[in-house]
Amino acid sequence: MRTILEIIKKEFAQFKRDPKMFGVILVAPVMQLIFLGFAATLDVKVIKTYILDNDHSDRSAELVREFSSSQYFRIDGYVSDYDELTKVMDGGNALIAFVIPSGFEKDIESGKTAELQAIINGSDGNTSSIASGYAASIISSYSNKIMLNKLELRGVKQLPAGRITADTRVWYNPMLLSRYFMVPGIVGLLLTVITLILTSLAIVKEKEIGTLEQIIVTPIKPYQIIAGKLIPFVIMGFISVVIVITAMRVIFGIEVRGSLIFLFISAFFYIFTTLGLGLLISTITKNQQQAMMVAMFGVMMPMVFLSGFNFQVENMPEAFRYISDFISLKYFLNIIRGVILKGSGFTDHIHDFIMIIVLGTLILAISILRFNKRLE
């Protein structure tokens, strides 16, 4: 125990002298949060929209104006029939198309329910769900406006009591911002960066400069080296999670609705996986540069991609969906998003939680065995 403490102490003495480390742990998380958080809303600000107007009426033109004057929909063109529409959608030129049936105006004027068809390109599940949310909210506010107008025309100045309004609600993300989806994910991403990339770098660095050899010739046990090297990064990881969660609240006004304790316990088991992978990378690479490359492109990127950090897992090709079952980040993101946005807790995430523990323990055990073998 004393030996492990010595290593931890040494590790922190080195952090203290390495301004880069502080940057990575304290500044980068906040920067990343701001950058990714704002970038996340940008990519759905412009929704490429096509219109098929079979009604050619004042009302249909008015509806189109409602869309084009919102800051989200950009009317890229009009088509005259379904064949043309299919081409536009297949070519990826439109994310959403509105089909206004003939008789649209007549239905409105006669007080019937008017129908409107929206065709959405679902290949990017994230953006399309946001687009459909925007569309729904614009349509509902338009229909409210029509209703109010009509009431006014009839000379009624006040809303009659007991009026039923259609209230479209998008759950878990009431403001229809993809930021809500992304920002909690960043907590998971950061924890991964710190515990995976930094650990592998820290171990490979000692290998590269030869100090690892100097430690191995001492009677120290491999498990003591491992614990001594990993624990500081666990601490750092948690510090930066706290920073990100605070920043999330201050900058984006997103509060953690569920149990922070459950979130931290999950995070604790989640980093078994990342520490394990970091350790594994350190056994297969010779220098920091290699370790960085393998950690970034060989592990982080596929992991982030397959976890559904920015694509919904449901929209991936089948093969990827199977692989994603083995990605702990996926389960951890479920928990983070659930706890932060929905206020869900352990009972909602039993499966995710078990998977995190199983995968984490497995990966860490394999890595420790391999690392031990390497040391002998």
């Binding site: 004393r2 030996t3 010595e6 290593i7 102490k9 040494k10 003495a13 080195q14 002298r17 390495d18 400069i209 030869g210 100090t211 050899e213 100097q214 430690i215 191995i216 010739v217 001492t218 009677p219 120290i220 002998e376």
Partner: protein
Amino acid sequence: MNSIVADNLTKKFGSFTSVDSVSFSVKQGEIFGFLGANGAGKSTTIKMLCGLLEPTSGDAAVGGYSIKKEADKVKTVIGYMSQRFSLYNDLTVGENINFFGGVYGLYGNSLKERREWILDIANLRGKENTLTGSLPGGVKQRLALGTAVIHRPEIVFLDEPTSGVDPVSRRSFWELIHSLSEEGTTVFVTTHYLEEAEFCSNIILIDAGRLIAEGNSKFLKSNYITNKIFEIRSPGLIELLDSAKKLPFVEDVSIFGNSIHLMVTSEIEEADDLKNRLESITGIKLTGIEVIPPSLEDVFIHLLEGKK
């Protein structure tokens, strides 16, 4: 009593044999010199003896423990100073000492006592808070040596401890090695500097992974060199060197500063005889010639050249 007994120690990296069936023994408390050219296999051998690399075949007993079966115990009796400086440059002198002391299980007064000792030998008293990376090379090496023996090991392995260090620092480093040896520590040291080999009580020479000579300096000089060695001066030194190489009565020849050392076959005994032969064959005038006792360098050049 033997501190180290190597028995057909072999290390292969793939199909390449880095250390090839090397056997030797090192007595307790002696300074044992391990010599060889770059890539001869010195570091590889040391790493096997320290338990950092597993031998492909063969075994060695270090402090009485098998490096194959009791690597854990070996670690308790050795100190190791690697060829590359391997203290933490981004820690202070004091932090490095405390860290390695702690890893060896030293604390409290015993750590304090050893810390003082290291600061003394490295001349770093009052500089505990200096960053290790900012120290000059010679001081770093003494600090590294002190740290390597912080736990008073029976045996210490030093892999080229003086390479890249200025001559004055090298001298004081060797004084340290001597005092360790006098206290009973076995010192196993590799070096490139042949004059340093003269400080060793026993020497082995390896080439391309094979042991090619062993013994003390005196033995090496008398046993491996039977013929005479002449030191020759001449204005046309380089031409003389080139032409002498081809002569049948010349065994080997090499340049030493402003003279050349020439070892002859047994037929030549006298300086005058050699002088006449050289001058008449090469037409180059010699300004000085004398028989000299062989240095270790002559021995090694002879042994290494002879192999080719």
